[in-house]
Assembly symmetry: C2
Amino acid sequence: MTTLDIDPTWCVGTKAHGGYLLSSIVGPALDEAHPHPMAVSAHYLSSPDAGSAELEIERVRTGRRVASSRLRLAQNGKPCVEVLLTAGKYDADAEPYWTTGEAPVLPPVEDCLRAEARRRDGVTVGFLNHVDMRMDPETVGYATGSPHGKAMNQAWLRRDDGGDPTLLDLLIFADSLPPVTFDLGLIGWVPTVELTVLVRGLPAPGWCRAVQRARLLQDGWLDEECEVWDSAGRLVVQARQLAGYRLD
Amino acid sequence: MTTLDIDPTWCVGTKAHGGYLLSSIVGPALDEAHPHPMAVSAHYLSSPDAGSAELEIERVRTGRRVASSRLRLAQNGKPCVEVLLTAGKYDADAEPYWTTGEAPVLPPVEDCLRAEARRRDGVTVGFLNHVDMRMDPETVGYATGSPHGKAMNQAWLRRDDGGDPTLLDLLIFADSLPPVTFDLGLIGWVPTVELTVLVRGLPAPGWCRAVQRARLLQDGWLDEECEVWDSAGRLVVQARQLAGYRLD
């Protein structure tokens, strides 16, 4: 059992950001032979507060190419996040053998809107102190009462300290964009139940681009699909979550 | 600890089918208040053989809307599959609040090709005794040396006994289509490392349609995205796996 210290500057209100949690849980489970998270599946049970939490790491299998672990975060004995991790080692020079799809097209960074950590309702969205996220203006119409109604948004992302993205940063970026429900005019809390992130390769230095979409809102549940592309135009993350929404 | 008896008639060669395993692992973890698997994340460590295996079920949290469990399948003490499950209860009459995308367009069932359990190389693909899968002829060109090169395939699916699909059947269907690598002319084993299935609602009676696609083959790894649509044209499954491929 390891102690994880949840940094209050990453919290949204009093609760830890989901992507920050994922990154913090996965980091200690990596090793020299398996330094790269490849597939990370998280089921979120309850949101821990800033402060001390208990991280349990169990290496289940160490194979030739990949190692798999079960990870559990609890706070004061209450389970918060359950994670399965498969990690391995990517070749930094790998080229796509076959691919489809295109990187999202965004206005230049300087024409996009930085997402502010201080919301107008006074809540601090702490992770935005650490993540410099520049939203495509067309996809944040909800902020001025004109959502564009496509259940889609997109943004440029980088570390606020200007550093190049790491694979653990990608786990954060995969859960950074606002809920796509906002783009449908539904301004309510969208709690993540499950989030799986496939990290597909090592990101090039510089700004990443992310695009997030939903396919189906039904019965109080929606999917949110997030792709992250690096500055070289490579797909580096495929993530999908199941989250709740409310109409009232 | 429960004993799971892996049925040899579901095996591919001597190894249990991944979707059958998932369905068999998840079934015993459901209860009356949470009868529907909503999000299932599986990391496959080693393939069990037919026969007896040990299933460990741990309910981690029981909430108002959902219950979450950790599930582990092992055989002779060797870990085989690690699963996280979030289950709840869907409204059978739920209508989409918002949706995008279209059900795959396939030729009529009678013009599609039934996938045979007995392969030409003599291996038995046992699950095809239980799943009646009719492939779109255009997407099985690889069988006659003419793959169509789109990393895509699609099929009609139902239970071989003619019964209506259950939610557990959907977990099987989500892992039933041939590897999309075949459609690129890569005829090799494609072991699943991780598979997450979102079940989005209760399927209507009758044939389901499934479509499977890849976005990126790189560095020996590919994603396979599988959508399953029910006979009423509703999206009922969104699944994605990370799997390995070899060029030789």
